[in-house]
């Protein structure tokens, strides 16, 4: 994973609440054994009409959304399945951050492990961003802040370990593997107790 320290981009807004993982990537695209190249299926059934043409009404197809790396989404983004294909698809599509007032647990966990910033904001901050699509935001992971064009600033929660991994690009498996002595100790204690 590449380190994620700062991010500056204008926003795109998908105000729908409860955008589920089947919306993010429909299950019929999950027969792949790869993690690369899933961006073409991101929001597939929204992005394309039944005949395969682009749906011009879909927010992320509009010219204003081009090159946008920050998605502001309605409450409870990423609900539904545990498919990590959802953050893989969003990253490959070009997104680097998802902001909402609530993000489903498994999706958020999967996103952070892949360097997709999944950030939960307060209701009022969220309302402001929903009402101002296209504004440029500057996210500072170390400071846990989002800077607005008018100089205003939102701060957000991020657990210390996820933050460390994002900033250094270290992946969590390395840390877990370094716990081998403790894991062996735990297994030994249990065996003795049995």
């Amino acid at each position: 994973m590449k380190p994620v320290t700062h991010l500056r981009s204008h926003t795109a807004v998908l105000a729908h609440e409860n955008i589920d993982t089947d919306r993010i990537i429909p299950a019929r695209f999950l027969t792949t054994t790869e993690r690369a190249g899933l961006g073409r299926y991101a929001f597939n059934d929204w992005r394309y009409n039944a005949d395969g043409s682009a749906n011009a009404a879909f927010e992320l197809n509009k010219p204003a959304a081009r090159g946008c790396e920050i998605l502001v989404a309605g409450r409870n983004f990423g609900c539904g399945s545990s498919r990590e294909h959802a953050p893989w698809a969003l990253l490959d599509f070009g997104l680097r951050a998802v902001l909402s007032s609530e993000i489903a647990d498994i999706f958020r966990n999967n996103a952070l492990k892949n360097g997709l910033l999944a950030v939960v904001l307060s209701e009022s901050e969220h309302r402001y961003l929903l009402a101002h699509p296209g504004i440029e935001l500057a996210i500072d992971v170390a400071a846990q802040t989002i800077e607005l064009p008018d100089g205003g600033r939102f701060s957000f929660q991020l657990d210390a370990f996820a933050k460390h991994c994002l900033l250094t690009g270290v992946d969590q498996l390395g840390f877990l593997l370094s716990q081998a002595p403790q894991i062996e100790h735990f297994e030994r204690l249990r065996q003795e107790a049995a």
Partner: protein, 470 residues
Amino acid sequence: MAARTLFDKLWDAHLVKPQTAATPAVLYIDLHLIHEVTSPQAFAELRTRGLPVRCPERTLATLDHSTPTTPFDDLGQPVYASEEAAAQVGELEKNCAQFGIRLNGWSSEHRGIVHVIGPELGATQPGMTIVCGDSHTSTHGAFGALAFGIGTTEVGHVLATQCLLQQKPKTLAIHVDGALPAGSSAKDLVLHIIGQIGVNGGTGHVIEYRGSAIQALSMEQRMTVCNMAIEAGARAGLIAPDETTYAYLRNKPYAPQGEDWDKAVAYWNTLASDADARYDREVRVDASRVAPTVTYGTHPGMVVALHAPVPTPASLQERRALDYMKVEAGKSLIGMSVDVVFIGSCTNSRLSDLRDAADVLRGRTLDARVRMLVVPGSLAIKREAESEGLDQVFRAAGAEWREPGCSMCIAMNGDLAKPGQLVVSTSNRNFEGRQGPGARTVLASPAVAAASAVAGCIADPQSLLQEQAA
């Protein structure tokens, strides 16, 4: 020691290393279930790093999501919907062979949906931690096991270390007292609960279902209730183990035997929440008020009693959902035209579910417009159902009796509805396009689904069941 909840006890018993300000807890995993869809990239990671699977004996694999439910071809081979699906299954077969993992593959009598076979084999036991790259892993919480869905990166973590890094979730007690009315099922109960607490009502929490109505449920019913904990956004659902649990597990192939059994039960009896244990949140549900319940919108929190009018949309969002579903506010769903009926999924594909559906269908035929798929959760269930003649009831009615698998719940194996079709489904998700692009889903119990197949429109099974009894 301070009073602890069932969740606290499970958490504490698996802590390799507690959470600190800088690092999450390291939690030991007793049972890792894997399937073909969410595991290939994790095995690839192990190969890249040259790592073995730490505990192959704690890992159990099955084929379920992308596998066909149609009969084998003349050469005895499965007929896949695509080459990609076949390749994905081949990949799991190869990975299991290379890493020494038990696979309940095509030739196994134990093959079936991952959340059906774990309990059926007795691999799922109280007191365990159980994970799988599948959000409906919450099902196993019915046994008093801490069971939750994980992503593929975490599948790799568990394969390599048998551990996961976890932030401790909060606890939510759902007290369900009173008796479920005759004619209301566990599915109706859990849909009612999700309607009450909301599709995000459980986010950040582990739910413990408690109370007399929960204790009165069979294991299969408890699994239905825990299965859908994730549909309220919860990390996991839990029910304390009791005599019902032990009666179900005793003599299952992987369950402890003899003296080991007695020892295990003695431990399992210590797991229930202490009388004065505290939860972060508590909710009360009156089971006596649970009517047969269905969804009318595009997420599992949009529920309504079968005979009650669909509520007026409270937001643009809900308006859109009603438009998508072609549902009218102020009217009940009774009489809405149905194209497809699906009986199956890790929510409702067990023997008691098939019996519920068969009781409604016995001696009747499907409405001419309806296509009905009945997909047992496992090969074992299929065989049991056939020994009771349930397959004959379904076939005589005009339904398709299929091989086990996830099938039309996730619609990635070729079993899917056409755009615009209305599916009455015993599965767990009614998201837009979940059962095929443009398909509309109404979640319901097996009895309501079967009655709707007979009527050709959404229908109440009660009158049909009364006729059967007469």
